[in-house]
């Protein structure tokens, strides 16, 4: 029962040449993610999990290997072409929110939509709806500095789903939050993910977070050391 793969990465290596010595961060990683799956990538600090996420999202260039996202081979694309792929296919949530400080919550959410050249009027309706669903209906005109960490991360969540990307990438999304806010954000992330039918790739070193995933890939020293399916939800995308 092979599903359609939204992400196919084969033979990924990443080597950094610092001039004095070479560091092999990833030493041959293969990952295939079927549509709708919730994958957690785990590993200790320095295991290469964030680097892998960066490569999968086309934020950095491979040393060798090949990555296909939703049918598009991004391996040889230049910077601007990569940006366009990201804009259409991938939503992002980061540990430190990464909102634009000079834009309001609403404008931050609208940003990917406008960058993709979408219709502003329709975008605005969706942005407001998303903000409402993360519980920020009364905070739309606030600037990031006027929001708490949990609220900022919820804005970031809304922004990630704005363009209905087929795939969402999250890097320690609750890392900067206390346990109450962290749990709230995680619930929202999973709820929205179900509702929008998005494939979710999440990097974390928090086992409790990972326990919610369909599949856990563990990295160690630049190699995949474990890849386990957690439960039966695999084949039931909402």
């Amino acid at each position: 029962m092979e599903e359609v793969a939204i992400l196919e990465a084969t033979g990924i290596t990443k080597t950094i040449d610092t001039g004095t010595h070479r560091v092999e961060i990833l030493r041959g990683v293969d990952v295939v993610v079927p549509t709708g799956q919730f994958v957690a990538i785990m590993g200790a600090s320095g295991s290469g999990k964030s680097t892998l996420l960066g490569l999968l999202a086309g934020l950095d260039t491979l040393t060798s290997g090949r990555i296909v996202i939703d049918g598009t081979d991004i391996t040889g694309l230049d910077e601007d072409e990569l940006a366009l792929v990201r804009g259409r296919k991938i939503g992002f949530v980061f540990q430190s929110y990464q909102l634009i400080p000079t834009l309001t919550a609403e404008e931050n959410v609208l940003l990917p939509h406008e960058l993709a050249g979408g219709d502003p009027r329709q975008g605005l309706i969706r942005a407001r709806e998303l903000l409402t669903s993360v519980g920020l209906a009364d905070r739309m005109d606030h600037y990031p500095v006027q929001l708490s960490g949990g609220e900022q991360q919820r804005v970031a969540l809304a922004r990630a789903f704005m363009t209905k990307p087929p795939m969402l990438m999250a890097d320690e999304p609750t890392g900067n939050l206390d346990s109450v806010n962290g749990a709230h954000v995680l619930e929202l992330l999973i709820t929205l993910n179900r509702r929008e039918g998005t494939t979710l790739i999440l990097v974390t070193h928090d086992p409790r977070l990972a326990s919610r995933a369909d599949r856990i890939i563990t990295l160690s020293d630049g190699l995949v050391t474990a890849d386990e399916l957690r439960n039966a939800k695999v084949s039931t995308p909402a």
Binding site: L59, S96, D171
Partner: protein, 855 residues
């Protein structure tokens, strides 16, 4: 215990080294100001040194005395007495006259005459110092044979003759013997309106140009020898022998030139100081942004036990280092500016200025640079005291807004430092101008301008912001984000606007005033007013000339003639002018001046007090211009003694008048009745309005019949005047341009200072799918807006200021100049775009991966 200076210096140096790129711009901003300043003063001092060194050459004598009347017999005999004591002299007469080529028939097109400034010298004696360079290189005596004339190169071009050809001059034909390449006393000349020519006194007399009463300057050159009495005695003697003359000696070089040099040095120094202040403003802003970024460091340092004083010490040393670096670089820039000066003023001073390395000016530049930099960094440095060590624990916390009384208390040091800065600037300006008063005016004027600019900048920025908040229609995200960037924390939008604005304002004001003024002068021959003037008309030529003009084509209004008599005002109410106490400008009446006579009141005059005389009045009476009366402290009923050619007449003031419209001659400050001036040598001025295409024909026919009458084409004369004004304005614009440059550098510094935040945002945008071009457009919108707003603001204030200047101070008209304004705004926008990108282009290249690296 305070930190030892050495330790503070070491820490400061480490920090400076770590932020080279950011501080490079700061150093450049200071260098622009110091460069302008030390360039001006370096040039001025070199120029002055040259003047002093060559003062005898510049005067061609040890002493000179210049007046506008021929010496009386008594004066001549007393000068001869002085010669017997070892002070020999020679007389130079300078006048203007028409001349044309004698190689073609007098009525041909090629015979159109040109105006010459003729200098008649005694080639046996002249010059006492220096030499006249001629081409071909013959001796001056040979070149100035009685039938010959030596001329400047442009005479040959204008009159279409060559060396060896003959000119018609006065009643004679003279041979062009040589081209004058240089003459030592070129700058001391009096009659510089025409093309230059030189003759011997003998040849000059033959031309018949000098009739009694003709307009001329008489300059005596004196040479002393070992037996002569000392220069002070000679000077005093000359003053008593020639009371109407301007006496100068070699010790002071030429008083007119040095006075002019002093005034322009002061003025240009202050212009440069503005560039300097704009540069210092940049340092303050960069320091402010720098300290904001260093908040953590400061908090860490404080929690490790450093006091506020220690930290302030470290950053003060850093500021000093930056100011010093800027100053030293500025001195190098100043050297270049200094070399540009002779080129800018070359038309007027054919003096070989020895461009020495001027340590004094360099030192002054560096000191002013460091001082101004320090002054402006006081407020950001003081803010260090407010950094609490606890900041390190709760960084992203927004600061709570304090109640107004607490905020006011916090503002105390800022207000104090503001006053300190103003006082400091005033002191520096006063020092440069050598006048505390000028310093005060400068600081005051600058404050008003800065406050005005800051208010306008603030209003405009607020306007843009409220527009952003409630846009009438949805603006595209890129533009919105570009505009929002202006309000970024640490972005110095307001200061950039003020800095660039003041530069634009200054440059454009100078340009507008210059153009409006010149434009007005050129157009100010309104219909009916004469556009051709004739001078040197003898009384018996008036009627024949009137008849001749009647026959001319293209005459639009009947010619006007006004008499002029050159007299010296000797006394008021019997008290000699030398002994009278008169307000500042009253002193100008001590020389000789032109007066006129009239039977009936000319239409151009309006009586303000008293009554005009009856036509048959035989007693000598006069009417004085009301302002002249005020300066001379003379009122109705007073008597005025006038003297000319050794004769003295006493006339009574019966009226005062005001000039309603300028008329021919302009000798209407003193109007006598004819009996008062009977027997004095008079000359007439004529004015006529003629179609411009007929001016040449009029010049030719007048010249053919009356070769001694000089015809001045107003349009042509105004051209010369325009050149002078243009040259002066060019120098000022050149220097005020440095202020704009400093403003642009500040923009670059501000971009460099907010680099980290910008990088972060570009990275987020790229992650969310923005291309480099899209991210770049955001920056472009930001820089363009800054440039346009600064340009509009500067242009707005320049328009207001030049309007004020022209209408209130210069009594001229003002009209809006859309082209210059548009050019100023566009140029500023382009400059802002360029300097912003210069500092920002690297930011766009940042890889989006950064987004994953946490802080």
């Amino acid at each position: 215990m305070s930190l030892p200076l050495k330790t503070a210096g070491r820490i400061a140096w480490r920090e400076t080294r770590a932020s080279t790129a950011k501080f490079l711009f700061v150093v450049l901003a200071v260098a622009a100001g110091v460069g302008a300043l030390s360039g001006v003063r370096g040039f001025s001092q070199s120029f002055r040194a040259t003047l002093k060194e060559e003062s005898r050459t510049i005067m061609a004598a040890d002493l000179t005395a210049r007046q506008f009347m021929p010496p009386s017999d008594e004066q001549v005999s007393r000068l001869n007495e002085l010669a017997a004591q070892g002070v020999e002299h020679t007389l130079i007469t300078e006048t203007i006259s028409m001349a044309s080529s004698a190689m073609v028939p007098i009525d041909s097109e090629d015979a159109t005459p040109a105006l010459l400034s003729i200098k008649a010298v005694d080639p046996e004696k002249y010059p006492y110092y220096g030499e006249v360079k001629l081409d071909p290189p013959i001796s001056l005596k040979e070149a100035l044979a009685p039938d010959a004339i030596a001329v400047a190169q442009d005479v040959l071009l204008r009159i279409h003759v060559k060396v060896g050809d003959k000119l018609r001059l006065g009643t004679q034909q003279v041979r062009v013997s040589a081209v004058v390449l240089s003459e030592p006393d070129r700058m001391s000349g009096s009659m510089n309106v025409g093309l230059r020519a030189m003759m011997s006194r003998e040849g000059f007399e033959r031309t018949g140009l000098m009739q009694f009463g003709s307009r001329a300057a008489y300059r005596y050159l004196f040479r002393m020898n070992a037996k002569s009495p000392d220069v002070e005695y000679v000077r005093a003697t000359l003053k008593s022998v020639l009371p109407a003359a301007l006496v100068a000696d070699f010790r002071e070089s030429n008083p007119i030139i040095t006075r002019g040099l002093d005034t322009s040095t002061t003025f240009l120094s202050l212009v440069s100081l503005i560039a300097m202040i704009v540069g210092a403003l940049g340092v303050a802003m960069a320091m402010h942004a720098h300290l904001q970024q260093k908040m953590d460091n400061i908090a860490v340092m404080k929690s490790l036990g450093a006091t506020s004083r220690d930290v302030i010490g470290i950053y003060t040393v850093q500021t000093l280092l930056l100011g010093l670096a800027g100053g030293v670089l500025g001195v190098a820039v100043g050297r270049a500016v200094q070399s540009a000066f002779p080129f800018l003023i070359s038309k007027y001073f054919q003096l070989n200025v020895q461009m020495g390395w001027n340590a004094g000016a360099a030192f002054q530049g560096v000191v002013v640079g460091v001082l101004t930099t320090l002054l402006f960094t006081v407020p950001p440095l003081l803010s260090i005291r407010k950094v609490r060590p606890a900041l390190i624990l709760r960084r992203d916390m927004p600061e709570a807004k304090l109640p107004w009384n607490k905020r006011l208390r916090d503002a105390g040091p800022v207000i104090v430092s503001g006053v300190l800065i103003l006082a400091g600037i005033g002191a520096v300006a006063g020092w440069l101008a050598e006048s505390p008063k000028v310093g005060g005016y400068f600081a005051g004027g600058l404050t008003v301008s800065l406050i005005l600019l800051a208010i306008v900048a603030n209003v405009l920025l607020r306007g843009v912001r409220s527009f952003l908040k409630n846009p009438p229609l949805r603006i595209p995200m890129l533009i919105r984000q570009g505009l929002a960037n202006l309000y970024r924390q640490g972005n110095q939008a307001q200061a950039i606007l003020v800095a660039m604005g003041i530069g634009v304002m200054f440059t454009l004001t100078v340009y507008l005033v210059q153009h409006q003024l010149v434009g007005e002068i050129i157009q100010s021959a309104p219909p009916g007013m004469p556009n051709v003037f004739m001078i040197g008309i003898t009384p018996d030529q008036v009627e024949p000339l009137r008849a001749l003009l009647k026959e001319q084509k293209g005459i639009e209004a009947p010619p006007e003639f006004a008499p002029s008599v050159s007299v010296r005002i000797a006394a008021v109410n019997g008290v000699p002018l030398e002994n009278r106490d008169m307000p500042g400008t009253g002193r100008r009446f001590r020389g000789s001046r032109s007066v006129m006579f009239a039977k009936e009141k000319p239409e151009s005059l309006a009586i303000t007090q008293g009554e005009w005389w009856k036509a048959d009045e035989t007693k000598p009476v006069l009417s004085i211009d009301e302002e002249a009366a005020r300066n001379l402290v003379a009122k109705i009923g007073d008597t005025i003694d006038i003297e000319a050619a050794g004769r003295m007449v006493t006339a009574q003031v019966v009226a005062t008048h005001r000039v309603q419209q300028m008329r021919v001659g302009a000798a209407n400050e003193f109007v006598f009745n004819s009996p008062a001036l009977e027997g004095f040598p008079a000359t007439f001025y004529g004015g006529v309005r003629v179609k411009s295409e007929q001016v040449g024909a009029l010049e030719r026919s007048t010249y053919a019949k009356f070769p001694t009458i000089t015809v001045i084409n107003v349009v042509e004369a105004l051209g010369i005047m325009q050149q002078v004004v243009d040259q002066v304005a060019l120098v000022i614009r050149f220097l005020s341009g440095f202020a704009i440059l400093a403003g642009a550098v500040i923009l670059a510094a501000s971009v460099a200072g907010t680099r980290f935040r910008r990088v972060k945002e570009v990275v987020i945008l790229k992650t969310l799918g923005a291309t480099r071009a899209a991210a770049g457009r955001i920056f472009s919108v930001e820089f363009l807006t800054l440039g346009i707003v600064a340009g509009v603001m500067g242009a707005l204030l320049a328009t207001v200021f030049s309007r004020l200047l022209l209408l209130r101070l210069l009594d001229a008209k003002f009209s809006f100049d859309p082209l210059a304004t548009a050019v100023a705004v566009i140029a500023t926008a382009v400059l802002a775009q360029a300097s912003g990108w210069l500092a920002g282009f690297k930011i766009l290249r940042q890889k989006p991966l950064e987004v994953l690296r946490d802080e």
